[in-house]
């Protein structure tokens, strides 16, 4: 897989590149800001661009903006955005625009296999959404919460679905058989009134669209004792 890395912290950039190269991928360009990133992507047309959210000159959301541009101009290039903290608004919007997009906290990199798996998913048109982001969308039950009808296991499955994982991925994660996972997925989709689609990404989109509708507008959520 050919990869472009945009990260202004040189140490981390080189480390990431090394990690990916160790895994057999080709890092074709390493850049430090959004402008260079766009140039590099246009030049190399890589399968994947790994992009830091905050980059020079303003250290704001240059990476996220560049990700949007890449999704527009180079649909074949997947974009995996890395962030230091959770910020859902842009991420959910970009996911909603189609596959080939991922949003992870930076320290997910340390979970190397999961990270490489996410890279592969995004590069092949799939989705990777950080569990923390998903958690903010999958609110714990409130009285009238439609998610209230889900069992805890179904809720777990829903979360993994929203992260963009396949049934096989979910099954591996939960130590279940794929068949059981399929049953749970069907139950979740039925309970939420979502169409039982076949494609992974369509499924993620449906789940996210549903969760997003819960997260914005008149907002109702209830905290569960956490400690």
């Amino acid at each position: 897989m050919r990869i472009v890395i945009a990260e202004d912290a040189v140490l981390l950039r080189e480390g990431l590149a090394g990690l990916l190269e160790d895994a057999g991928h080709a890092v074709v360009a390493r850049v430090g800001d959004a402008d260079d990133l766009l140039v590099a992507v246009a030049e190399h047309e890589p399968e994947l661009a790994i992009v830091d959210v905050r980059m020079p000159p303003d250290y704001d959301d240059e990476g996220m903006v560049a990700a949007g541009v890449i999704r527009d101009r180079h649909p074949a290039t997947g974009v995996l955005v890395l962030s230091q903290h959770v910020e859902t608004r842009h991420a959910v919007r970009l996911v909603a625009r189609g596959g080939g997009f991922g949003y992870l906290l930076k320290d997910r990199v340390l979970d190397v296999d999961d990270f490489l798996d996410a890279c592969a998913r995004v590069a092949t048109g799939g989705t990777a959404l950080d569990p923390v982001v998903v958690a903010t969308l999958v609110s714990p039950p409130v009285a009238e919460d439609p998610l209230g009808g889900l069992t805890p296991r179904e809720r777990e499955v829903l979360g993994l679905m929203a992260e963009g994982r396949t049934n096989a991925g979910i099954a591996a994660r939960l130590w279940l058989t794929e068949k059981t996972v399929e049953t749970h997925v069907r139950a979740v989709l039925r309970k939420l009134g979502l169409p039982a689609g076949s494609g992974d990404h369509r499924r993620v989109l449906a789940v996210l669209a549903y969760l997003r509708a819960q997260d914005t507008g008149p907002h109702a959520s209830q905290g569960q004792p956490s400690g």
Partner: protein, 666 residues
């Protein structure tokens, strides 16, 4: 020293009635030829009027040249009158009194003094200087001519008037008659001088502007009377032949007119600032008369009723007079003002009515600007209040003014206890009414000072509020910077470290696989450190606020140890408002959980009108106060700095309702 100097004008002024009385005593002594009564009255009026006006002027300004001219000018004329009656008077033996020839010739020679003081006034009124340097020689010529005429008559006259015995002139110098043409020439100069004097006034009048023009107006007319009167005299001499009555009548009339003109300038147009003195004199004169009359009436009536020498009557009269004095004084003052200073009377009434309204609470002191506009009849008037601390000026609303602004306006400084408290910027025309301006401003000093103090407080409060907002903003900026430093600095390095560890782990040779768990543990430690940093950074500034208030409050609710129900019906708030709303809810939840043992919290954020209302209600034990260094006090500061209001309703045992109102322009 000053005391003696103040007495001198009175001494001089007393001289004139003294001389007149002396003349009255001497008049007709030993003969039947008396001065007719009308002439005596004319003379008395003609001499006493200028002297009185002069005395009033000198009371105010002891060095005033005009005052001295008016006061001293009539003295030689009074002396002349005395000399004349003395020269006519006879002793019991029918003989003329000793020295009657000297007195007689002097009384004839001193005639030009009739012209001298009106001329002097005409030349130097009102500032005590000639209209310009060019007038110096004409003035010198005229007064020298007057002196020469007196000298010529003294040495040239052959005999005295038959009424004075017709004796020889003791000062006669023989042969002086050859100079007679010169004498007439000098007479001509003196007469020309009278026209010159009139011309001087007219020149000055035409040159004058504003109030000086008003001051000169009457004098310009009356100065013209002297040459006019003399022309009439000359004509009637040619036509009728006898002008003994007409000449003194004209001269006295002109003199009276001139002194009255000066008096008008002084009293009506504020010259030498004597109007108030006259006003007060008038007030006290009327007051004294009225009180005296009341006293007398009561004493007389009670004397009739109770018998003569009754102490009761006197005591009663004293009591009535004492009680009536103060209210009567006000009435008399207003009456005098109403009659003689209408504009000032009405202006003062307006200002006093306003002051009463302020006292009753019906008007705010800031209305003083409008009151001054009404009182002075100047709608362009502006009041600039001086802010003592900052040496700046503010308008009545408390906005700082640029003192250089209006070039076309005049300024009057308002003082209170000798310190400047305000500047009144007004139309230049008002300067022509200094009496009106001053008395209205004096009357309005107290409300002006009130408005000034309030403006000062308002300006200082605004400054303090601005500085509080700056402090809080600086704090927020600093937190944001710290949060970024944590994320982009330490956290980034930890991730790099973790990645390095992972790479090393993955490149371990097969025989070193035993180290894998140790690497896993190290990376876990790094991950934990990163999570810790993220928590700290989130405490510094909630990153979820980037997703809006709803998302941030949702996060807050999820992480709370008790059920928190959030209802947010707003979007796209200004970031500072969002931040304050977030911290408010954060603190309220903390308070509910930590101090009030609440089991449920309801959070509400909605737009009401033009502000955001944040309501947090819990079912805890209440008793929350925003005091001292508590978190709620900090929230009150933040809300206040944002221009909002924090309301805490927390009765003991009945839960807490915290409500923040935050203005938001969006």
């Amino acid at each position: 020293m000053t005391h003696t100097r103040a007495v001198v004008p009175f001494a001089v002024a007393a001289l004139i009635p003294g001389l007149l009385v002396l003349a009255g005593v001497l008049d007709g002594l030993g003969t039947d030829e008396r001065i007719p009564i009308w002439a005596a009255v004319l003379l008395a009026v003609g001499l006493l009027t200028p002297a009185a006006v002069g005395l009033v002027i000198l009371r105010r300004g002891p060095r005033n040249l005009i005052g001295w001219i008016l006061l001293v000018g009539p003295v030689p004329i009074a002396v002349m009158a005395c000399l004349e009656v003395y020269a006519r008077a006879r002793g019991t033996d029918g003989a003329f009194l000793p020295g009657n020839d000297v007195a007689g010739i002097l009384s004839v020679a001193l005639w030009p003094t009739f012209y001298v003081w009106p001329l002097a006034i005409a030349f130097v009124f009102p500032d005590g200087h000639l209209p310009s340097r060019r007038w110096r020689w004409p003035a010198v010529a005229v007064f020298t001519a007057a002196g020469l005429v007196i000298a010529f008559v003294l040495v040239g006259e052959e005999r005295l008037d038959p009424a004075m015995g017709g004796g020889a002139n003791p000062f006669r110098v023989e042969g002086v008659d050859v100079l007679l043409p010169l004498f007439w020439a000098i007479w001509g100069v003196l007469l020309a001088g009278l026209f010159l004097g009139a011309a001087a006034v007219v020149v000055r009048y035409r040159r004058a502007r504003g109030v000086e023009r008003l001051q000169l107006k009457w004098l310009a007319w009356s100065a013209g009377l002297i040459p006019l009167g003399l022309l009439v005299c000359a004509l009637s001499y040619l036509l009728v032949g006898d002008v003994t009555i007409l000449v003194p009548a004209v001269l006295v009339g002109a003199g009276v007119c001139m002194s009255v003109s000066v008096g008008i300038a002084v009293t009506r147009h504020g010259l030498y600032e004597i109007d108030r003195l006259v006003n007060r004199t008038l007030v006290y004169a009327v007051l004294t008369l009225a009180l005296g009359a009341v006293f007398v009436v009561i004493v007389v009536v009670s004397g009739i009723a109770l018998g003569r020498g009754s102490m009761v009557g006197t005591a009663l009269a004293t009591l009535v007079v004492a009680l009536a004095a103060a209210p009567l004084r006000g009435r008399v003052q207003r009456g005098v003002d109403r009659r003689f200073a209408r504009a000032r009377y009405e202006g003062l009434s307006r200002v006093r009515a306003f002051e009463d309204a302020v006292r009753r609470g019906a008007e705010e002191p800031e209305g003083v600007e409008q009151a001054l506009r009404d009182a002075l009849g100047d709608d362009s008037l502006r009041l600039w209040l001086r802010l003592a601390r900052s040496e700046r000026h503010a308008d009545v609303q408390g906005a700082i003014v640029d003192r250089a602004a209006p070039a076309q306006a005049s300024r009057t400084i308002v003082e209170h206890h000798g310190d400047e408290i305000a500047i009144i910027v007004h139309a230049p025309l008002l300067l022509t009414r200094p009496d009106l301006l001053r008395s209205v401003v004096d009357a309005a000093t107290l409300p002006i000072e009130l408005a000034r103090l309030r403006a000062e407080v308002r300006v200082q409060l605004a400054e303090v509020e601005a500085s509080r907002e700056r402090l809080i903003r600086a704090g927020d900026d600093e937190r944001r910077r710290l949060e970024r430093d944590l994320h982009d600095g330490a956290q980034q390095r930890l991730v790099s470290l973790g990645v390095s560890l992972r790479r090393m782990q993955r490149s371990l040779p097969r025989e070193a696989r035993a180290l894998v768990p140790a690497f896993d543990q190290a990376v876990d430690e790094v991950g934990q450190a990163i999570a810790d940093l993220r928590t700290i950074a989130a405490g510094l500034r909630p990153p979820r606020l980037d997703d809006g208030l709803a998302a941030a409050l949702g996060d807050l609710a999820r992480s709370a140890p008790v059920p928190v129900v959030v209802r947010v019906e707003v979007d796209d708030l200004p970031p500072p408002v969002e931040l304050v709303a977030y911290y408010t809810v954060c603190e309220a939840i903390t308070n509910a959980v930590k101090h009030a043992s609440a089991t449920r919290v309801d959070v509400e954020a909605l737009i009401e009108g033009d502000h955001l209302t944040v309501r947090v209600r819990d079912d805890g034990r209440g008793g929350a106060v925003a005091r001292g260094a508590s978190g709620l006090a900090g929230i009150a500061d933040r809300v206040g700095a944002q221009g909002g209001r924090l309301h805490i309703d927390s009765p003991a045992g009945a839960g807490t309702l915290l409500e923040a109102e935050l203005p938001c322009a969006s």
